[in-house]
């Protein structure tokens, strides 16, 4: 442990001060804003197009809630309005039109949508929420935006930390995803890739040759881990940057071919452009300008002002520092639980743990009359969609929440002395299924909390690692 002398403390303070007064070209942030807005717009349209608004947010009679967010409820048919607002604000963000308000509307509507039902939880949705919160505070409309035309002012430079904070967030997502891959299942059993890849036999060319090879599963596992851990540094370092970007494109396209992961690969490819020098982004802007040439003659060029200084930097900086520090620490909360993380999933979500598990469950609920001992089983499809049943079956917090829902439901129907027992079997990463929830525990009496869930039966194997 290094001790700070008074002197070194002052040096640091001084350095921080100079750091926060440093400025940089505004172009990368402007391009990032445009890319972000367009990607989000496409994502929303795609979601709508697949009919998922209906099947995921409107059809289900019951929604699984994040702990502490029970009050977020589905808006029924008005979910379409919510998605419309979300998509429209994404478009405004891309255009740089009323950027702050658009960003706020996007952040709120997107986050609200995600909070309606945790069945759809994906790390990359959470990433969008985190990123859009950060972007609320950044002057992403300083350059090449409609806001510039309205104010007749455009800015050449912005504070340097604005771009660095995005880089930091991106680097963190990759690096933490890499750390999570340092575990014995991923590295020494090549799980779950060993299950997933052989099923891609119908891919042209490599489907029937590579995908069944054990060495290939291991090569993919290990290179995936190294990729995640090193890519932030390779992107930061100028000499390796172009190579790193080629890797980014290759890896994300490859995973897109292999797995049904939607828009995420494209979002990451566009996002990592932010690591490039301003000159690249200026070229991109010049290119878009050329495309827009026919429409631009109506507007007078905004006046160029040198630096965009953030009015409220004094309180924005502490807020963002706390926010980013929280993001750094939060994924490590699993250390407070002694059980196997993959098994109990206590502290699993919101931590950039992606593609680590092939986990499936079969969970049936038994409603018992405590006095008479009479019981019956619940047909899950009476209450949940297939997708919800699938997700519920192996995630303890889902099982508990649903047990309470069923208990309340049957109480309302006039059943007495209700107990809710669970017969649940779960298989993890190619292991044989084993009983998951203690069948003797009446879940109707158990409460959700951050405490350890002692009604989950212990995992009969061990997974070593971070």
């Amino acid at each position: 442990m290094r001790h700070f002398t008074k002197e070194s403390f002052f040096i640091m303070k001084f350095n921080l001060k100079t750091y926060f007064s440093k400025t940089t070209n505004a172009a990368p942030l402007a391009v990032f804003r445009i890319g972000f807005g367009l990607m989000m717009l496409v994502s929303i349209i795609r979601f709508w197009w697949h009919g998922w608004i209906e099947t995921i947010y409107i059809q289900p009679t019951f929604h699984f809630k994040y702990y502490g967010f029970d009050w977020v409820s589905s808006l029924g048919a008005y979910n379409y309005v919510l998605f419309f607002i979300c998509g429209l604000s994404a478009l405004f963000i891309a255009l740089g039109f009323k950027y702050r308000w658009a960003m706020l509307a996007f952040f709120l509507s997107f986050t609200y949508i995600e909070l309606i039902d945790k069945t759809t939880y994906l790390n990359h949705y959470y990433f969008i929420t985190v990123l859009s919160f950060l972007m609320l505070f950044l002057p992403a409309n300083a350059k090449f935006s409609i806001d510039n035309l309205l104010r007749k002012k455009s800015y050449d430079t912005i504070p340097r930390w604005c771009i660095d904070s995005i880089k930091l967030l991106l680097a963190m997502v990759y690096f933490y995803a890499g750390l999570a891959k340092i575990n014995s299942d991923w590295l020494f059993r090549a799980m779950p890739l060993k299950i997933w890849l052989p099923s891609k036999y119908d891919l042209p060319f490599i489907g029937n040759s590579l995908m069944q090879q054990e060495w290939f599963h291991f090569a993919m596992s290990w290179s995936g881990m190294f990729y995640d851990l090193t890519i932030p540094f390779l992107l930061l370092y100028k000499r390796t940057r172009l190579f790193a970007f080629a890797l980014v494109v290759f890896f994300h396209i490859f995973t897109r071919v292999l797995f049904p992961i939607g828009m995420f690969p494209y979002i990451m490819i566009v996002a990592t452009l932010v690591f490039f020098d301003a000159s690249v982004h200026e070229k991109i802007i010049a290119f878009i300008k050329r495309l827009l040439k026919p429409f631009r003659s109506h507007f007078s060029e905004p006046k160029l002002v040198s630096n965009y200084s953030i009015a409220n930097q004094k309180w924005i900086l502490p807020v963002l520092t706390v926010f980013l520090a929280f993001q750094m620490l939060f994924p490590f909360r699993y250390a407070f639980y002694k059980d196997e993380l993959f098994w109990t999933e206590e502290g699993f979500r919101l931590s950039w743990r992606v593609m680590l598990m092939e986990k499936m469950g079969l969970t049936t609920f038994k409603i018992v009359d405590a006095k008479t001992g009479d019981y019956f089983y619940v047909d899950n499809s009476d209450f949940l969609t297939n997708f919800q049943v699938k997700q519920m079956s192996f995630q303890p917090d889902f099982i508990l929440e649903y047990a309470h829902y069923l208990g309340d439901h049957f109480k309302e129907q006039g059943h007495k002395n209700i107990q809710v027992f669970v017969e649940s079997y779960v298989a993890l990463n190619g292991r044989l299924s084993q009983q998951y929830v203690n069948p003797e525990v009446d879940l109707y009496q158990e409460k959700e909390s951050f405490k350890r869930k002692n009604w989950i039966l212990p995992f009969k194997d061990e997974i070593k690692g971070l």
Binding site: T120, F376, F387
Partner: protein
Amino acid sequence: MIRKSLLAFFTLSLLLGCSSSDEGDSGSQNDGFDRQVMLSNWADNIIIPAYQDLNADLMDLSAQKEAFVNSPNQANLETLRASWLSAYKTWQYLEMFTSGKAEETNYVFQMNVYPTNVDDIEANIASGNYDLSNPNNNDAVGFPALDYLLFGLAETDAQILNAYTSNTKAEANKTYLSDVVNQMQSLTATVLNDWTGTYRDAFVNSTGNTATSATNKMTNDFIFYYEKGLRANKIGIPAGVFSAAPLSSKVEAFYNEEISKTLALEGLNAVQDFFNGKAYNSNATSGSFKAYLEYLNTINNGEDVSALINSQFNAARTKIESLDNNFVQQVETDNTQMTEAFDALQKVVVLLKIDMVQAMSIRLDYADSDGD
């Protein structure tokens, strides 16, 4: 850092390089599992022969029905009943198949929805004006409707015969009986002709791994039938495991009163034979879930899931064999044995739905999954 980037570069160029060549490296055992062998075994040795058998059974049923309608006497009633039972047993080998024309025509729902709805049947007979293929009539047609018409119209055989002879509704009863049999026969012929025609090749060539590929659909249909058609309908629902009290009137072949166990055992055999890829007409086996799981095990070195599944099938069979021939009787005298049979069947659901599906990585595309 440079070393790591070199390593990453090296690994990746290796991957890229290998994807375009390097196939002959480890010999012919890397051809992988041939799904087409499995699909053609299913189609040529199991599904089509079973449909052909059912079709023959139903032609016989149709002939016996004609004989009975022309002269409704005890002897003809008994031959007709025997023919019905024989077809009903064959049917147990087909209820799990719902693709092709069977899906288009809602075939399974027109063949074996039980309990049958006596009010609907009587209303149809009374009005003489009905569309048997209408979904509202699903519970008034098929084997369960015949169960009622041949065993349930009255208490005794003499009274049943009376319903087809001197009763005022005798003509209407005969017409309905005849129409139901004809409908079953023509539907089956349609489904069979589709299989022997173009559908067989479409099925066998659908070797991909998407939600609509033959293997994936078949896996889902198979598990769905096992869970719903066999486990729940035949055992669980009558035993009352999904309701506050047992529902003995919901057994299969309720009016016959003797064969609910026979049919359940046929259903279980059908499921296990299909799992093992056993041909319908012989003991030959070929491509199957079992073979697929064994192949995947050579990659994963995991547990022998197919052996576990077979031994649990056998355990469930032992439980069912110890039940009364008539499940109504069993439910009303000792329902515990019935729920034990259910529990034994349920254990296979766990193995099929989790362990088998996980190993085969059969996916349903609900929505996006997480990605890196």
